[in-house]
Symmetry: C2
Subunit: 85 residues, 2 copies
């Protein structure tokens, strides 16, 4: 299912127009994204948790050039689901 299909399904379920449904979905996704970018985790009981983690830089050997390279520090988002419980 992609976003367009989801907007349509939400519209059918809630009676909102497609434009309202699209706007609302964007607000939900924007709120989760913005919170994570701000360094805060998002806990949605019954659905799951989005957690932002900092990965340290690390040295490793490039598989292509066989030289040592540094993978820079970066942030990753981990999702832990509750929907299969």
């Amino acid at each position: 299912m992609n976003k367009k299909q989801m907007v349509k399904a939400l519209s059918l379920k809630t009676g909102m127009t497609l434009a309202q449904s699209n706007n609302y979905l964007n607000e939900v996704l924007g709120l989760i994204s913005g919170t994570l970018k701000g360094g805060e985790d998002v806990f949605l009981r019954g659905f799951g948790s989005f957690m932002i983690k900092q990965r340290k830089p690390r040295r490793t050997m490039s598989l292509n050039t066989r030289k040592m390279i540094t993978i820079p520090a970066r942030k990753v988002v981990k999702f832990k689901t509750q929907i299969l419980e």
Copy 2:
């Protein structure tokens, strides 16, 4: 941020009541959950993808009892973010 805080923030952003906002958020999360449980992935461009994967059963040694045990086949949800790109 938890679900209650998110409902409040959504209500402020959209002008919906808290009850409406809570209802719509539940529809969004329920739609994603239901799609994944039905074995279908969910692609939300600009946000990320939820993918359902089947893990095969595997034999391993229990760290507690040192006996061989079988971890049964199970489903897991993987999330691939696009929000840090």
